[in-house]
């Protein structure tokens, strides 16, 4: 764990300089079930990407390429919305949560 700063060393008002700080904070360990994307069934409608509340569906060049397991909380919205059942929710087993 990084050394914690004292109160005199913090930026004013809790500002995080640099932006996009949420990407550094890995929260995937909260997940109980993981979405597993099945490329063969996927028709690239991007509904999962639209609906994901945590921006955890990875899209490259307008195509889904996978799931960001560092930040996915396993809510299952992507699996529920998928019109082709191309995403399966699979229980996490102990020790396999963080990728």
């Amino acid at each position: 764990m990084a050394e914690l700063k004292g109160w005199k060393d913090l930026p004013i008002g809790g500002v995080v300089p640099g932006g996009a700080a949420a990407t550094l904070n890995k929260t995937g360990s909260w997940r109980a079930e993981r979405p597993v994307w099945n490329e063969e069934k996927c028709i690239q409608c991007l509904q999962c990407w639209f609906h994901c509340p945590d921006s955890s569906i990875v899209v490259r060049e307008q195509k889904v390429t996978g799931v960001d397991y560092d930040h996915c909380k396993g809510c299952g919205v992507c699996a529920a919305i998928c019109p082709k059942d191309a995403i399966d929710m699979v229980p996490e087993r102990e020790g396999t949560c963080a990728e």
Binding site: W7, P11, G13, G14, V15, P17
Partner: protein, 387 residues
């Protein structure tokens, strides 16, 4: 140039001269006139301010927070229930260290609903993290609006600030006010220096992030440190204002015939004017009475209050709001201030003026006459209340 204007007009004139980038405001009696005057300035092209006519005070302060984080100079105004609605976001403005200055036209909180003056709204915001100044007159409301802007934006402070002016007694009463010339006022306030502005897209930042138990405490301690910088900034800005205006405000409190007083009143706001008349009347009969008026209410000037009151024998602290189940809020602060004084006056707590109940010179003379004759105890006494 001396002009006749209400407290509201005086505040609106100061705001016109400050010319903030954004004013987000929702009307509420008695504050509405400030918003109306400012809307006129915007409509007439006198100021180049983005006036955001929001749908509630909660939205007003939220818009102020967003605009201030974006890098704008921001002001607003409210009263009573409006303050109660926006106070959630006022805590956020303070925690995010955003220098938003707000006029608070003091009005009683419901229920029963009432539109007239007391200080229950100011006391509600007491612990929010905004510094608070109380004004005796329309002139002070004008002066302290300019002063508050500079304190809020002071590099070591960067906190929201509230300028209190008593509803109707100050807001709607015409008095002689001598504003600065526009150029002098603008020069005094100076240009706004944003800190980490969101609109500076070349330097992205995250505002308002979550803080877990490992950092929340440290951030709150840093906020307290900013509040502790207010007194020094207050004196520094008062000094600069004396140079700009010729009006000398010096200190967190104003003592009136306190030096040799054996009995004294402690008040906030416009009642200080009434109290001065009462003190003058009793002084003309040879009685050693005085007054302590508090300008800077938050952060509370414990040392200045102790220094001013320690030599006095009997002190009546007047609270214009009840703190249900406790002694008055101002009384509690004054009592804390005097805890370590070598010689302590006997302290009394009087509640007065709730919901705009008039407070008269005669009533304050009676309080001063009573001091020394009643036993000091932790009992609330009420002025002008029917049994």
């Amino acid at each position: 140039m001396r002009r006749v204007m209400t407290g509201h007009k005086a505040v609106a004139e100061a705001m016109r001269q400050i010319e903030p980038d954004v004013v987000a405001v929702y009307p509420i009696t008695p504050q509405s006139e400030i918003a109306e005057y400012y809307a006129d300035y915007v409509h007439d092209g006198i100021v180049h301010t983005e006036l955001v006519p929001v749908e509630s005070e909660h939205s007003a302060m939220s818009a102020c927070v967003g605009a201030a984080a974006a890098g704008a100079r921001v002001m607003t105004a409210t009263s009573s229930q409006g303050l109660a609605l926006l106070v959630e976001v006022l805590y956020i403005a303070a925690g995010m260290r955003l220098p938003i200055v707000m006029a608070l036209a003091n009005r009683a909180l419901s229920a029963p609903i009432n539109i007239h003056c007391d200080h229950s709204d100011a006391y509600l915001a007491r612990d929010a993290g905004a510094f608070q100044i109380f004004c005796e007159s329309a002139q002070e409301a004008y002066d302290y609006t300019l002063i508050a802007q500079r304190i809020a934006e002071h590099g070591k402070v960067r906190l929201p600030g509230i300028v209190n002016l008593d509803g109707f007694a100050l807001t709607h009463t015409a008095q002689v006010v001598e504003p600065l010339e526009d150029e002098a006022a603008k020069k005094f306030v100076g240009p706004f220096q944003p800190v980490y502005p969101l609109l500076d897209v070349a330097k992205p930042v995250t505002w308002g992030p979550f803080a877990m138990p490992d950092y929340y405490f440290e951030l709150k301690r840093a906020q307290q440190a900013a509040m502790e910088e207010v007194p020094a900034a207050f004196l520094e800005v008062q000094k600069a204002y004396a140079l700009a205006s010729g009006r000398r405000y010096a200190g967190f409190v104003e003592g009136y015939h306190l030096d040799d007083a054996d009995r004294a009143l402690v008040v906030l706001g416009s009642t200080a004017g009434t109290a001065k008349v009462a003190v003058d009347a009793l002084r003309s009969k040879g009685e050693k009475v005085g007054l302590l008026k508090i300008w800077l209410y938050r952060p509370f000037p414990y040392h200045a209050v102790a220094a001013a009151l320690a030599p006095v024998k009997h002190v009546a602290v007047l609270d214009r709001a009840l703190s249900f189940g406790a002694m008055g809020a101002l009384y509690s602060d004054v009592a804390t201030a005097l805890l370590r004084a070598q010689a302590r006056p006997a302290l009394h707590n009087y509640i007065y003026g709730l919901g705009g109940r008039d407070i008269t010179v005669e009533q304050l003379e009676d309080v001063l006459a009573e001091l020394g004759k009643v036993r000091p105890d932790e009992v609330l006494r009420y002025i002008g209340l029917r049994e």
